[in-house]
Symmetry: C2
Subunit: 497 residues, 2 copies
């Protein structure tokens, strides 16, 4: 059969192939975190490295440039055109990087991340610097190459890989606003909460019952266990492929809240993946729109729903059934536990209100690092100053709970951090939009009816995948592009209302 779109068809076949091979790579990554015994690591790293090289060669095959140009002239429909736009974006990012750089980066990050696992608990900043400086050097090279390819500034070019279209100018404006009101808000909330009595749950909480509770809650949240699983890993994540989503959590028998709320978070990611449009699977247009949009789903679940008094009153009897009734499990107390605000050192443990401070600090520092304004040695002093300024917390000398706490920098994921807080803002914006069209939304959630939330997200976010740019998607979904006022209003309503 002859075709009127030979270039587009060839590209489409290449991306299907990338998707299939990427399936094996995603599975191997999940298994590495969830199952792999320690002595399997070397062989696994070699296997995944081989595949990474292969995928890079497929993404940068010489014929792709011509096919991408040729497809521009072919009679494509709107979806095909959107798909081509995403192919071009992915191709530009891969094409900018020679395989030798990809391999050097993999070596540097793998060495740094491996050493970091022991250096972090030992608070060994000097040792960390030895491996981190080469990581930073390669990341700057990468940023320069991406910048040359895209015409963007270096940090913008890095951020564009995770959040297409997002630029520092916009992040600065948005985070600049947050910087104005956040410290005051935190003070007002903590002052108010200091008046409230909160009962702490009394453990231990057996792991098998925690697991059963998590699975119940995941099912309540609509996750399809016939197309995914929940397993255990040191660092929880949501991986796998849209057809087979692999979520992980971790259990500690003295704290069920962390694994429960963490699982709610991953379920947001999981449902996004499970509800991407099936008929286009394998094509870039069927991939999740961006990392901020992805986080907007996990945070719609964890923060918007998870901290919602109506949803918490749904959880409360499930918690009592799992561990036996105790006063701490009553709905109003459970809600106070879930919404407790307490500035602290660790980002992943942070509450919804102080979380943006952790992100703003990292964004400001990593941008200076990538643009060569500061060196790795300068990080701790900046970290200390910004933590004091934003959260009033003293971090001096505590590297392990300071600049060494996250895996992102050892792994060279520069440009990712902003997505977390942008995601929180989008999540607030989605719920504001839902309330405009469904004034009774909160009553329905309180009555245990979550379907309106899932229906809205499915229609406006999940099934839209990468059909539109992020701005277009936000506009279609909520009538406006990113507007952080909704996030501020959400926090004020929930914590001071």
């Amino acid at each position: 059969m002859s075709t009127a779109t030979p270039n587009y068809d060839a590209l489409s076949a290449t991306w299907t192939r990338l998707h299939r091979l990427g399936h094996l790579q995603a599975l191997a990554g999940w298994d590495q975190a969830a199952n792999m015994p320690p002595k399997g690591n070397e062989a696994r790293a070699a296997a995944m490295g081989e595949m990474a090289g292969l995928l890079h060669r497929l993404r940068t095959a010489p014929e792709l440039g011509g096919q991408l140009q040729g497809a521009e002239q072919e009679g494509l429909n709107d979806l095909q055109r959107a798909n081509l736009r995403e192919m071009q974006r992915q191709w530009r990012a891969s094409h900018a990087l020679p395989e030798s750089l990809v391999l050097r980066q993999q070596l540097a990050t793998s060495r740094c991340e491996h050493a970091w696992r022991t250096q972090r608990p030992a608070n060994d900043w000097a040792g960390f610097l030895v491996n981190f400086k080469p990581v930073l050097a390669v990341a700057r090279e990468e940023a320069a190459l991406l910048a040359a390819q895209t015409g963007l500034r270096p940090y913008d070019a890095m951020m564009d890989r995770y959040e297409p279209g997002m630029r520092c100018a916009q992040v600065d404006r948005v985070f600049g606003e947050v910087r104005q009101w956040l410290p005051g808000l935190i003070q007002r909330v903590t002052a108010r909460q200091s008046q409230e009595a909160v009962l702490a749950p009394v453990g231990p909480f057996p792991v098998d019952r925690q697991r059963a509770l998590c699975e119940q809650v995941i099912a309540l949240l609509g996750f399809d266990f016939e197309a995914g699983r929940l397993d255990v890993s040191t660092h929880p994540f949501c991986g796998g492929v849209p057809e087979d989503v692999r979520m992980t959590t971790r259990f500690s028998d003295d704290d069920f809240m962390a694994s429960l709320m963490g699982t709610v978070h991953e379920t947001g990611h999981g449902r996004y993946e499970q509800n991407l449009p099936r008929e286009w699977l394998g094509q870039p247009v069927a991939e999740a729109r961006s990392m901020a949009l992805h986080e907007s789903q996990s945070l719609s679940f964890e923060m918007q729903l998870g901290g919602h008094p109506g949803f918490v009153s749904r959880l409360a009897p499930m918690v009592s059934a799992a561990f036996g009734a105790q006063p701490a499990f009553e709905a109003h107390n459970l809600h106070r536990l879930v919404t407790r605000v307490k500035p602290g050192l660790i980002r992943v443990d942070a509450d919804e209100v102080s979380y943006p401070a952790h992100i703003i600090l990292r964004y400001e520092i990593e941008r200076l690092l990538i643009e060569g304004e500061i060196e790795a040695e300068d990080v701790p002093a900046l970290w200390d100053a910004k933590m004091m300024e934003l959260l009033g917390v003293d971090t001096r000398g505590n590297f392990k709970d300071g600049a060494m706490q996250d895996v992102h920098w050892p792994e060279a994921l520069f440009g990712y951090f902003p997505c977390y807080s942008l995601g929180a803002m989008y999540a607030a914006q989605w719920f504001a939009a839902m309330r405009r069209t469904m004034p009774d939304l909160d009553q329905r959630i309180a009555a245990g009816d979550l379907a309106p939330v899932f229906d809205w997200l499915r229609e406006h976010i999940w099934t839209q995948a990468s059909r539109w740019t992020t701005d277009e998607l936000a506009l279609r979904a909520s009538g406006e592009v990113l507007n952080p006022a909704h996030f501020k209003a959400h926090l004020e309503q929930r914590y001071l209302g």
Copy 2:
């Protein structure tokens, strides 16, 4: 750096690459059986199909033929020469098959195997035939192509993929002998055992305790849990890669013996894989010698050790500790349970004595199928006749526990079945060799000392990998090539001694 062996080095790099990509494929196969939720199947099949095509193209790349010829002229040491021999063997088998046939075969077997899962319980032989006839047709094509490439007869060429060097002439001789004495031996053993009182264990046997018991026994058998795992799947197997061995079992709470002895079996496979020579990993010379040799390890564990009264007396207190003491768990009763002979319909449930009858029957039938002497429709009548002749069991009309019981034919694994019984014979031969050099072997096993067995297997089998042909390996290990007299002597000693 220049090298004196450019062709060999290029081949070696290709096989390292095949090993790494094969790691991802093996992991995906294990996950499919042990973890994958049902809706993940289509995407997984597509991903593994993509990889199968890629691996086939790598194994048949045009430059390999010249490199294999060129390497013949290079100054290789003995190990390199052995490695080259194995590369040539693998290349011949792959090179004979066009990718289109590989893909057609995958389609036919995948369709047949999928339908078989429901047709078997429904006893639907007519439905099975519809999908099995195309599988057989492609297998005959494959056999013809392999025969043309190797100069062997079609079934020999198929069997050579699993058991290099083994030919029907030898199998006929060996199985012909067994055919002479087996029915009589079964009669004598069952007559003798009918006089013995055997207590049946009283269940239920909670699955978590069965799992803990299996893990204890696996550890006792020397499996390295830092380089492997035990999981659950419908059909137990040993998969993964040598650096990270994935064994599976299945649990039923009314029968702990099946999962326990099945796990002992898989541990034999697992230790072989874990003890392949690490410095050559990724090269063909470091792969397990053959499937009969592989089964000789699983059966050394399950049958030679597992049915050994000394080993069973080691197991007995572990069983009591797991489930609470009961008379059936006393060592002499447990040994009678383990060595109970009862001809039946199902191969995988068969005891050590009647097992070869199941294999001989399958070998005789599948050889006729591949060589075009019979058609698929002729199988049930032959099956019925041979079951009556060999085991005195009536199978008429029972297709599901007859010719439909194994996954091998739906998956076109023609030529594999003989390896099971050849493995049982090799296992008996290894233990006879051990006893010649260690006359106190049985006392040491009875005293709980398994190290002499493992040391002998490690030295003579595991670390030798594919360095020698199977005949050379057997000769070096035991002073003779395959000699089925040891198997007969073993059965007579254990069951009539």
